[in-house]
């Protein structure tokens, strides 16, 4: 299934520094904007600064390729809006 695909991709792209490869159409995180209250925590705490706020203050993944799946954004999201896409 797709799991093995991604695992395969990981090995064949050694030039990426991050653990996972996130191309533009394969975002590292799925964000449930209908639950998001725009608290800014994910944006501020992300060590790779992959987010930028939209005009309502909600996170947009502007530098997805830098995501290291460190978990900081989703463990600190008080509203359970952020889910990893890595299967």
């Amino acid at each position: 299934m797709s799991d093995s695909n991604q695992a395969g991709q990981e090995k064949t792209t050694p030039k990426k520094k991050s653990k996972y490869d996130f191309t533009d159409d394969n975002l590292p995180l799925e964000i449930n904007l209908s639950w998001c209250k725009a608290c800014n925590i994910c944006i501020a705490m992300c060590p790779q600064q992959i987010f930028e706020p939209d005009r309502d203050g909600r996170p947009v993944q502007t530098r997805p390729a830098d995501c290291t799946q460190c978990t900081i954004c989703w463990v600190h999201c008080p509203d359970f809006c952020i889910i990893s896409t890595v299967k």
């Binding site: 998001c36 725009a38 608290c39 925590i41 705490m45 600190h76 008080p78 809006c81 299967k87």
Partner: protein, 279 residues
Amino acid sequence: MATTEKQKSDITHKYLRPQKSFPSVWCPGCGNGIVMGAFVRVVDKLGYSKDEVAMVSGIGCTSRLPVYLDFNSLHTTHGRALAFATGVKFGQPKMKVVVITGDGDALAIGGNHFIHACRRNIDITCILINNHTYGMTGGQGSPTTPEDAISTTTPYGNVEKHFDPCDLAMAAGATYVARGTVTHYPQMEKIISAGLEHEGFSLIEIISNCHTYYGRLNRKGDAPAMLEQFKENAITTGKAKKMDEQELVGKYVIGKLHEDNVKSEFCCEYQKLIDHQKG
């Protein structure tokens, strides 16, 4: 099969009550949600069934937490959560009884129940989310509001002294006491887990942010700013040992502060009494 990142990050959704509408009632960025996430991930990791967990709470922002989770939930009167929880635990000792409470709920109106639950060493895990203020009623001073801090009832600075909930619990006889902050997520999961697994009364104090009232009145900024301050002001127990009292003012000593596995637990002792008396 190893859990994937997607599964790990999605655990919380397995425990949210399907009948409740989300997002929660809390302000954007409220630490209560962070603690809630940590709690369910710990429960999942420990493998407790939903039916065996009872969450008891009193009144306050924090006390709204159990209603969102698909466990047995008891939302009680202000300050009395530990007394109700004592009835639940003593009535059904096989249940994992967790009290979610705030600083006002547990230490002011519920102060007496707090010290007596500690004294009895009844196997309840008390997660005290300390935001130094009364959030639900709009930012009044609480027993943990620091000296000089501004609240709506201490508009010229707090002249009262504050409680240290962990010291209080230790002195009163709690057998597991630990402190964390909403910023230190892995450590928070660790102490909640240890508290749940500990047989006896455990107090888990989580320093949390009320940027809406406490933060605004004391110019501490928004939620991310407050979380950042917790990071700066948190001192691990190891480091704290090397610091003097003056240096520790305004700091949060985080980590396991006390553990006693010798002192007997109340329900076990009573069961022994029953077994003996029934003969």
